[in-house]
């Protein structure tokens, strides 16, 4: 803002108008006096009027005083004008700033959207790989027509996975729940999947307790957990070996149980406490195995804690073991496809708008 005086400056303008207005007083007064005295309006008579009447000398100062006071008013006016100008400038600066910030936000938003898009694309692609691996449950379906797998990842890819391998008369089925979900979970699931395949298919281990012991050893080895004490990851699982030649099931569990149902009777086989992988505890004991006979038409059920730990819509209660058992018992006589469907419905109703807490896996097999 310029501080020099210009003709546009209110102080100058007001002073000029004040002085001009003030000038009218001596002019009118002098002319009036000359007229009253009948002296005519010639220059000499006007000078004469001025010279003989000292009152005019006071009146002559009017332009000075009025100019001065008008100037004071002009100063005030100028202040208002300048304040206004300042405000306008500020508004303009703010507007520009907001505009810049808007632009910045838009750039950030674009970048975020772009990142999100690329991450989603990447995860969606990863899902195809996981799906290809998990599709081996079709083999399970081929062997046990009455079987169903409810597989519901929390974030596209999953730390849970169903596993099935046939070796001679043995059908190995496992519901595996790796630590974490999403991408880290999916990493772990691949480790688990290939280690289980290796142990059973290549190494030819057949006892479920041996398989879990070996799986633990291998996970510890793969993740260097013997030396790297900061990686606690691993998996919980329920593993069944169905021997179709003598109608016997061998079960071992790391954290997760198996349910065996015959008619409306449900028997729970509890797992060993120790998870696969993770910190090396001195007290750790080898996995144990439990065996039980089955008849044609019996059912076994395995699941991950994503099912039992799911909060209700209002967040007050967890689904819990009880509801899983009740549902299985109540629907025992229905075809498994229907059991599957009604379980999905019950879970949807249960969770309502509550977010899914973890990956979910439920495997039912009719023997």
């Amino acid at each position: 803002m310029s501080s020099g005086l210009s003709t546009k400056d209110a102080r100058v303008q007001y002073a000029i108008y004040g002085a001009l207005f003030g000038f009218a007083f001596p002019v009118i007064a002098t002319l009036f006096d000359a007229f009253m005295r009948d002296m005519g309006f010639g220059l000499s008579s006007l000078i004469e009027v001025q010279r003989t009447q000292p009152l005019h000398w006071i009146i002559d100062t009017a332009p000075l005083f009025l100019g001065f006071f008008a100037c004071l008013a002009g100063i005030k006016q100028q202040e208002v004008i300048e304040a206004n100008d300042g405000l306008e400038l500020k508004v303009q600066q703010r507007t520009e700033m907001l505009h810049e910030q808007n632009e910045e936000l838009r750039t950030i938003q674009d970048e975020l959207e772009d990142s999100l898009h690329r991450i989603s694309q990447s995860i969606n692609y990863a899902q195809r790989i996981q799906e290809a691996i998990i599709s081996n449950t079709q083999e399970l379906k081929a062997q046990f027509q009455e079987s169903s797998v409810m597989f519901r990842p929390r974030d596209v890819v999953s730390g849970d996975f169903p596993w099935y391998v046939r070796k001679d008369n043995y059908h190995f089925i496992a519901a595996v729940d790796c630590t974490g979900h999403g991408v880290p979970g999916a990493f772990m699931s691949l480790i688990g999947y290939f280690l289980l395949n290796k142990i059973v298919k290549e190494q030819g281990m057949l006892d479920t307790n041996d398989i879990l012991c070996e799986l633990h050893k291998e996970v510890v080895n793969v993740l260097n957990q013997e030396t790297e004490s900061d990686v606690h990851d691993g998996m919980d699982l329920a593993l069944c070996r169905i021997d179709v030649s003598n109608g016997e099931i061998m079960y071992s569990g790391a954290g997760n149980p198996v349910y065996h149902m015959r008619d409306e009777d449900l028997v729970e086989y509890k797992a060993d406490f120790w998870s696969i992988g993770g910190t090396q505890y001195k007290k750790r004991k080898p996995y144990t195995a439990q065996k039980f006979k089955y008849k044609s038409g019996d059912m076994i059920s395995m699941f991950s804690d994503g099912i039992t730990d799911q909060f209700s819509a209002d967040g007050s209660t967890k689904f819990g073991y009880r509801r899983v058992k009740d549902h299985l018992i109540a629907n025992y006589n229905k075809p498994l496809s229907e059991v599957h469907e009604s379980f999905e419905k019950e879970m949807n109703l249960w969770m309502g708008d509550h977010r899914q807490m973890d990956d979910m896996l439920l495997m039912n097999v009719r023997l």
Binding site: D177, C178, G278, D358
Partner: protein, 125 residues
Amino acid sequence: MVDSLRIEATEDTPEIDFDTTTGVFKVTGRALPENAHEFFKPIEEWVQSYVESPLESTVVEMRIDYFNSAATRYIFNLLMCFEDIVDDGGDAKVIWYYKEDDDMIETKGEELASILEVPFEMKTL
């Protein structure tokens, strides 16, 4: 003596209130951190330095209503640190709170009680 440890709860992580003036260590809330290691590691380190010169008596009050499988491992490791106090002839115990209808938390508590060598009490909320 180490200073008390306090961490505010978030939607996915529990409140940590380890008060070294009273010897009451509280863990309250939900534990499903996206990065369990990042959350629990500093707490574990704090406990490890605490158990080197613990108070006369230490009570760990666990009021957790949800933990995911990764958090379970860290919680187990954390509670195991307190075994050192008992091993050295000190006084430490864990009180495991669960809601009456929460069979998940109850079962987890029973499992931990059977493994941990620290006096372990189960209480309903």
